[in-house]
């Protein structure tokens, strides 16, 4: 905690005191005038600054999106790490191919087959987490000002990519059966009539982040049919498909596309194994994959060979589905706790989704509540969530919130939702007091 501490220097050479930088606030202009348009367009926000507090101890954070990493078996980790040291050390410390390790790409094909999607290993590009797959796919297709379709709300982590590349996002509303396919067609035709047909649709059909809802089978079929008819490229992001608590798995859009090449599929090991390995992937037609490959070369040459090897060896020795079943059981209980708490503690006028998988519940409050202001109040009560505005690029979502249930034990969820319910109830009472006769 001291900037004057000379910390242990475990490298070679004598310990050195830290250098005192000569750069002060007056020098800010030096950089401002040099920042790229892209960097200048990336701004801080009230929401992001408020989120910084949620990492403080004592705060019940329903804001994160963290998978459970506590339950990963230690002995399995040790075994695989030892194996890598014995058999694959040099290769695991070396650069690898940009598209990823061949063995792992084969294994990804079989992971996808577990969800009923038939892919070819040659069509797989391994990425540094699913986030890079999103970034690469958007930058491969989107020019500044290009129209793009996405669910409303959309994945808050995709929003900065859309902003960075200048996508003009039109949100398509959802209901309990996921994205309203009819409204998607409407939005498409409206934009096409303006002479700017949307280039891509970005969608999370399964247990959508943040809404928690899942696109019905019928809508999936109609969506792919529509995409084929008008020529709409779909980016299908499927990080949560296997985290299913109930009901039967639904076909991926990629499978429904049946090799026609209108779907780029994005997957990740973050939820089915662990986010720390940073291994995700994209599946795309060869023409598209080549461009994404070039983008990846510029970004990071290749994903970590060490963690790719870890995933490969893990998949070779163990049935990852057992791990998925274990965490899914944990999340299911946590989801149940959250839904019961919401039922018990959230006031009339609030609605929320009932996810059948994934990590998130999306709650919508009366439209006079601004959840960023509510967040300030909630933080006083030591509880945090993600205000909905971060999931929209058009300023909507101000009266909604994303609640995560995967990262917190049941008792804490119950307590957190209770406090949040009190804050919401207070707000509604205050609104009523401010608007006598409104009710």
């Amino acid at each position: 905690m001291s900037t004057s501490d000379v910390t242990d220097n475990t490298g070679t050479g004598a310990p050195m005191p830290p250098q005192t930088p000569l750069v002060g606030p007056a020098d800010a202009a030096r950089y401002d005038s040099r920042f790229s348009a892209l960097a200048s367009g990336t701004t801080s926000s009230v929401m992001r600054d408020l989120m910084a507090i949620t990492e403080k101890a004592d705060i019940i954070s329903l804001a994160g999106g963290l998978p459970d990493t506590e339950t990963f078996p230690r002995e399995i980790f040790d075994e695989i790490a030892g194996e890598i040291g014995t058999d694959f050390l040099a290769a695991s410390l070396q650069y690898g191919p940009t598209d990823g390790m061949g063995d792992l790409r084969e294994q990804i094909v079989s992971v996808m087959a577990d969800e009923g999607a038939r892919a070819r290993a040659d069509d797989v590009l391994i990425t540094t987490g699913g986030q890079q797959a999103i970034d690469l796919s958007i930058r491969t297709f989107v020019n500044r000002g290009d129209p793009v379709l996405a669910e409303g709300p959309t994945y808050p982590g995709a929003a900065p990519c859309f902003t960075a590349y200048g996508a003009d996002v039109t949100h398509v509303p959802m209901d309990d059966d996921g994205m309203r396919e009819d409204l998607l067609e409407e939005a498409y035709h409206r934009l096409a009539a303006e002479g700017r047909p949307p280039k891509i649709l970005y969608t999370i059909p399964n247990f959508q982040n943040p809404a928690g809802v899942t696109m019905s089978r019928e809508r999936r079929e109609r969506l792919v049919e529509f995409a084929h008819r008008v020529g709409l490229l779909i980016i299908e992001d499927n990080p949560y498909g296997q985290i299913r608590f109930e009901g039967d798995p639904l076909p991926t859009l990629y499978e429904l596309d049946d090799g026609a090449g209108w779907v780029v599929y994005l997957g990740t090991f973050s939820k089915i194994l662990a986010p720390g390995v940073r291994v995700g992937w994209a599946v795309a037609p060869p023409q598209v994959l080549r461009k994404m490959n070039l983008g990846k070369q510029a970004a990071d040459l290749c994903s970590s060979t060490l963690t790719q090897r870890f995933v490969t060896e893990y998949l070779r020795r163990y049935d990852y589905r057992e791990h998925v079943a274990r965490v899914t059981g944990i999340y299911r209980r946590r989801r149940d706790a959250m839904l019961s708490a919401l039922e018990a503690r959230f006031p009339e006028g609030a609605t929320w989704t009932r996810p059948r998988g994934g990590l998130f519940v999306w709650a919508t409050l009366p439209d006079f509540i601004d959840t960023t202001a509510l967040q300030a109040k909630a933080l006083e009560r030591q509880v945090a969530f993600v205000p909905g505005e971060g999931a929209f690029l058009d300023g909507r979502g101000r009266n909604s919130m994303r609640l995560n249930f995967s990262g917190v034990p049941e008792s804490v969820i119950t307590e957190g939702i209770g406090r949040l319910g009190d804050v919401v109830t207070d707000f509604i009472a205050l609104h009523d007091a401010l608007n006598p006769g409104a009710r």
Partner: protein, 313 residues
Amino acid sequence: MSRVAVLKGGPSLEREVSLRSGTNVELALGRLGHEVVAIDADQHLVRALRDVRPEVAFIALHGRGGEDGTVQEILEILKIPYTGSGVLASERAMDKVVSKALFRVADVPSPHGYAFSKEAFSKMGAAEALPEIQQALGLPLCVKPARQGSALGISIVREPGDLGGAILNAMGFDDRVLVERFVPGRELAVSVVMARDPWALPVIEAVPLGHDFYDFEARYTPGETELRPPRDLDEATVQEAAAVSIAAARALGCRGIARVDLILDDEGRLWVLEVNTIPGMTDTSLLPKAAEVAGIGFDRVVADMLDLAALDT
């Protein structure tokens, strides 16, 4: 040279801003040759202060807890001299309602306004008085949480029906809300050095680019606001801005360096909005800009603040 503890971070809503201010201060103190220890003002603050035993505490906290007299009281108890205003002045400046009352007593011009607590609405039916407020103050109105910095929770009401929503929004940030006449005009800031003979740093104008007013995002995002010395102010206005700012800081009993936010309206009148007892020290803050314009530099300002560190008792 002294051992200086820089208090930063803390649990306030302005934590991130505070961390940025704190880092700049630490670097400056280092350049000035002091021994610097950064302390995150969390639940272990008192223990950390006891361990570190600083000769002076440099408070780089913003908002609740850091700017409202709380941390100042702790430092009084521990007998560690600290930068900025004392306990009472901090409390007064943090609360825009109290500040306004004191400005009135001291003849410091400030926009007319009314304050309401949550209880006024929930227990006394104050909502029924909202039309009278609109009548008395006219539109547009500015609605602010009484105690919150960095423009969080502030909104401007232009339509009669929007007042309730704006109050509700502000209540997210404080249980007491100030509704005041919105004075359109140029946004000026004057940093005042409350030494034995108080003096003022050059006036800085915040010119928001494409924002309704100088809101949170405009404040802390490079390129969203241009901070510059107003080129076309006559000398009398500049002098008056300095005098009014010093009077405002004096009315609250401020110590150290404080920043006074003013509006220069279209008729050339100055209005004091608030006094910040712990001015932002980030790269995009007004005080560092004023130091640059004055030609004295950031480090000198930090040195002055340190020199003025004191205890109330």
